[in-house]
C-alpha cells in the first residue's frame, strides 16, 4: 500500500484515452487455463506490466538484475518489462481486461482494492503453486478472496507491507517520555502526545490532503479493536460499513485529531510532506509504512538508526500485514508457462534476498534471514511478521471505490468536523454495495 502515495501527480490524458478504449471493448473469449508443471514451456517473450518499475530506484535495479539472470537461465526467453505509472494503472489495466489483450504478467496491489478487484480477469494459480512454495511464502491472504488463508490464489504475493508508528526517541526523551514506548491503550498514546505538546514538541507529523493517512489509522484501529474474523466479514460484504466495528476503527484517528496532536495544516499537506517533516525532526511521531516509502529506510539516514523507534497499535492484534504487491497472470496472457516460471523465479529465496538488499523490500519467505548489517527496525519488523499473533491488515478488506474514493474523501471531512462519522459510514456502505465484485 505504499503506491497510493505516488498518486501525487495526476493522470494526464491517459485516463481519458482509456475510457475510449474501454468503450471500444466488449465481451469476448478467454483463453484456456494452466497447464501445470513449472518448466513446461519456458521460451519466447514474456511481457510484464509493472508499476514499481522505473518508479522505485532500488526495485528497478533489483528487477533488472533478476530479469537478466532469468534470461540467462532460459535461453530463448526475452522479458519485456513495461513501466505503468501507478497513477494510471487502474485505467490502463481496466482497458486491457475489457479488450482481452495485454501482457503475460501484471503487478497488482494487494487485497480487495487491487488484485482481488480484477480476479475475474486473472488466472487462478493454485495448480501451479507447489506445496513447497505455498509453505515458504507468506501473505497469501492478500491474493485470496475473502482474505482467507486458503482458497483460489489470483497472484503471488511479494514483500511485507503494513502500517506502524515511528517515533523520534530524542524528542520523546526531551518530553520525559520512555524511549522504548509502546502504548497499552489509545488513551495512553494521546496523553503521550499531549505531554509532547506541552513540552513544545509537535506530537505528530503528517499530511492528509489525499486522505491516505486515514487508511493507516483505519487499518490499525480496526485490527486493534476487532478480530481477523471481522476483517474477513468486512471483505466479504457480510459486515456493513455502518457496523460498530467500523465506527470503532475510526475512533483513534478522530481522537488524535481532536486532541490537536496533528499540525494545523495537516489537510493542506500531502502524506509525503508529512514524512519529510518527521525526517526533519519537526514531529515526534508519524504513521508510517513497513517498507518502501515513509519507512525506516527513509527516516534512519535523517534522524539516526538509534534514534528511530517503532511502536504498534495497542489492543487485540498489534501486528497487521499484507503483501507489498502481487504478480498475476491475466487470462488473456499468451505465454503463461514462461510467465509462471518468471514469477516462481522472482519469489525464490535468492531473489527475495536481492530485493531486500537493493530495495529494502522485507522478505515474505520464512527461509530468508536478514544480514546482521540490516537496520534494527527491519529486523524487528520481519520478526514481528513471523509471530503467530500477526493478522491480515484490515485495509486489505476495502474495495477500491471505498479505499480510493469514498473513505478518504468522507473521512477528510469528518476529521475537519464538516460531516458526521455516521454519514460517512453510510456513504462508504453505499459505495461498497454498488461496486462489490462477485
Amino acid at each position: 500500500m505504499t503506491k497510493p502515495f505516488r498518486t501525487g501527480l495526476g493522470f494526464g490524458l491517459a485516463g481519458l484515452l482509456a475510457i475510449a478504449l474501454v468503450a471500444c471493448g466488449g465481451g469476448g473469449d478467454s483463453q484456456s487455463g494452466a497447464t501445470g508443471g513449472s518448466e513446461a514451456n519456458v521460451s519466447g517473450k514474456i511481457a510484464v506490466w509493472d508499476f514499481e518499475y522505473e518508479t522505485t530506484p532500488g526495485y528497478t535495479k533489483a528487477i533488472k538484475a533478476l530479469d537478466a539472470e532469468f534470461e540467462k537461465l532460459h535461453p530463448g526467453v526475452t522479458i519485456e518489462r513495461t513501466a505503468q505509472p501507478y497513477e494510471n494503472y487502474e485505467a490502463i489495466y481496466r482497458a486491457a481486461f475489457t479488450a482481452h489483450e495485454g501482457p503475460d504478467i501484471m503487478t497488482m496491489s494487494p487485497g480487495q482494492s487491487g488484485v482481488l478487484s480484477y480476479k475475474n480477469g486473472l488466472e487462478e494459480l493454485n495448480d501451479r503453486i507447489s506445496p513447497e512454495m505455498n509453505e515458504s511464502i507468506s501473505q497469501w491472504e492478500s491474493v485470496t478472496p475473502g482474505l482467507a488463508a486458503e482458497g483460489p490464489r489470483y497472484g503471488v504475493p511479494f514483500g511485507i507491507q503494513g502500517w506502524v508508528f515511528y517515533y523520534n526517541k530524542q524528542l520523546f526523551a526531551k518530553a520525559g517520555l520512555s524511549t522504548s514506548f509502546q502504548p497499552k491503550s489509545w488513551g495512553e498514546l494521546i496523553s503521550a502526545g499531549k505531554r509532547l505538546k506541552a513540552a513544545g514538541i509537535q506530537p505528530f507529523a503528517g499530511g492528509n490532503k489525499e486522505g491516505s493517512e486515514t487508511w493507516g489509522w483505519f487499518s490499525l484501529g480496526f485490527q486493534s479493536a476487532n478480530t481477523p474474523q471481522q476483517t474477513t466479514e468486512l471483505a466479504e460484504g457480510k459486515m456493513s460499513y455502518t457496523d460498530e466495528a467500523v465506527t470503532k476503527a475510526f475512533q483513534p484517528e478522530i481522537e488524535t485529531q481532536e486532541a490537536g496532536l496533528y499540525p494545523s495544516d495537516r489537510f493542506g499537506k500531502t502524506a509525503i510532506e508529512g514524512f519529510t517533516q518527521f525526517a526533519e525532526g519537526k514531529g515526534a511521531m508519524i504513521l508510517g509504512f513497513w517498507t518502501t516509502g515513509g519507512y525506516w529506510g527513509d527516516f534512519n539516514p535523517a534522524i539516526g538508526e538509534k534514534n528511530l523507534g517503532i511502536f504498534y497499535p495497542p489492543g487485540n492484534a498489534q501486528v497487521g500485514t499484507l503483501a507489498g504487491y502481487a504478480d498475476s497472470i491475466p487470462v488473456f496472457a499468451k505465454n503463461k508457462d514462461a510467465a509462471w516460471a518468471l514469477i516462481e523465479f522472482l519469489s525464490s529465496k535468492k531473489a527475495s534476498e536481492t530485493f531486500f538488499r537493493e530495495a529494502g523490500i522485507l522478505p515474505n519467505r520464512g527461509d530468508v534471514t536478514l544480514p546482521k548489517s540490516a537496520p534494527v527496525q527491519a529486523r524487528e519488523l520481519v520478526e514481528a511478521s513471523r509471530s503467530p499473533e500477526r493478522v491480515i491488515a484490515p485495509n486489505a478488506a476495502l474495495q477500491a471505490a471505498v479505499n480510493f474514493g469514498t473513505m478518504p474523501a468522507e473521512m477528510n471531512q469528518v476529521l475537519q468536523g464538516r460531516t458526521s462519522l455516521e454519514g460517512a459510514q453510510e456513504a462508504m456502505q453505499e459505495t461498497a454495495e454498488k461496486t462489490r465484485v462477485e
Binding site: 489537510f267 499537506k269 474523501a409 460531516t419 454498488k434
Partner: protein, 308 residues
C-alpha cells in the same frame, strides 16, 4: 475509371451520357470520401454507439455486459455525487462571463499595440502550453496553507485574508475555477485577437465620426462585431468544462476536499476505473454528451435568434 472518362469527354452530350457522367462523379466523390468516412465511423460513430449501448448494461469489464434497461439512468437520478458533480460543472458554466471578459479585455489591450504587446501576448499564452499536471503541482504549492501566497499575505499584515485555499469547501471550487480560467484564457486571447484583426475598421471609424467614445465604440460596435467569436468561445468553454479540465482538477485537489471539486468527467473516471462500473460510467458519458449537446445547441440557437 468511369469518372475520368466521363469528365474528360468533350464530345456532344446526349442526355444519357450526361446522366452517366453525373453518376460517375458521384461515385468518385464517395470513393474519395471513403477513407475519411471509415475513420470517422471507427473512431467516432462506433465508440459513441457502443457507449450508448453500454449505458443500458451492467458491465464490470470482465464478463460480457448484460442489459439492465434504464437502471443506470434511474440510479443516476438518485446518485448524490453525480448530482453534486453536475452542480460543479454548472458553476463553471455560470462563470462564463468572467471567462469571456478576461481574454476579451486583454485582447483589446494587446490589439491597441501598447508598448511591449508582443511580450504580453507571449506571456498570456504561456500557461496554455504548460502541462495541466505542472500547473496543478505548482498551484498546489503556491496555495498551500503555509505556502507562498498565504506567506505573502501574512507578511504584509493581511494574515486575515490567508485561507486554506485548496481545503476550504466553500473556497476551493471558486479557486479551482479561477486557476482554470487563468490556465486557459491565453487561448481566448488568441481567438479574440483574431476576431479583432478581422474587425471592419470602417465601422469603428464611422462610430468615431458619429461621436462615440472609446468605451461606447467597444460597447456598441466592437462587442457586436465580436459576437460570433464570443459565441464560439462560449461553446468551447462549455464543452471543455465537461471534458477538458479533469487533469488539472485531479492534480490540484483530487476532487476534494471531500467531493467539493468533483466534476462530471471526474465522476465518470472514478466510476469507470476505481469502481469498475463501466456500464454506469457509460451512462454518465451519455448524459454528459446529451447535456453538452443541449447546452451548446440552446446557446447557439439563442444567439442566432438574438442576431436575426
Amino acid at each position: 475509371m468511369t469518372a475520368s472518362s466521363g469528365a474528360g469527354s468533350v464530345g456532344p452530350r446526349t442526355g444519357r451520357r450526361h446522366g452517366a457522367r453525373h453518376s460517375g462523379r458521384g461515385l468518385t466523390r464517395w470513393l474519395f470520401l471513403l477513407p475519411a468516412l471509415v475513420l470517422l465511423a471507427v473512431l467516432i460513430v462506433y465508440p459513441i454507439g457502443d457507449a450508448i449501448r453500454l449505458a443500458f448494461t451492467s458491465w464490470d469489464g470482465f464478463s460480457a455486459p448484460h442489459s439492465i434497461g434504464l437502471s443506470n439512468f434511474e440510479d443516476l437520478l438518485k446518485d448524490k455525487r453525480f448530482k453534486e458533480s453536475l452542480l460543479h460543472n454548472l458553476a463553471i458554466v455560470v462563470a462564463i462571463p468572467i471567462w469571456i471578459a478576461v481574454p476579451y479585455a486583454v485582447a483589446c489591450g494587446i490589439h491597441t499595440k501598447v508598448a511591449g504587446w508582443r511580450f504580453f501576448r507571449l506571456v498570456f499564452f504561456l500557461p496554455v502550453v504548460l502541462s495541466p499536471v505542472v500547473l496543478g503541482a505548482y498551484y498546489g504549492i503556491v496555495l498551500a496553507e503555509s505556502g507562498p501566497l498565504n506567506g505573502a499575505l501574512r507578511s504584509v499584515g493581511l494574515g486575515g485574508l490567508a485561507h486554506e485555499w485548496l481545503n476550504d469547501p466553500a473556497l476551493t471550487l471558486p479557486v479551482v475555477i479561477g486557476i482554470i480560467i487563468w490556465a486557459t484564457f491565453g487561448v481566448g486571447v488568441l481567438i479574440f485577437l483574431a476576431g479583432l484583426a478581422n474587425l471592419d475598421e470602417e465601422i469603428v471609424e464611422a462610430a468615431q465620426v458619429d461621436g462615440a467614445s472609446r468605451w461606447q465604440i467597444q460597447r456598441h460596435v466592437v462587442f457586436w462585431q465580436l459576437l460570433p467569436v464570443i459565441e464560439f468561445w462560449t461553446v468551447i468553454i462549455v464543452i471543455a468544462s465537461f471534458t477538458a479540465f479533469f487533469p488539472l482538477i485531479y492534480t490540484l485537489t483530487k476532487g476534494g476536499p471531500g467531493t467539493a471539486t468533483f466534476t462530471v468527467d471526474f465522476d465518470l473516471y472514478s466510476e469507470a476505473f476505481t469502481s469498475g462500473r463501466l456500464g454506469y460510467a457509460s451512462a454518465i458519458g451519455v448524459v454528459m454528451m446529451f447535456i453538452i449537446l443541449v447546452t451548446c445547441g440552446g446557446l447557439v440557437a439563442l444567439l442566432r435568434w438574438r442576431r436575426s
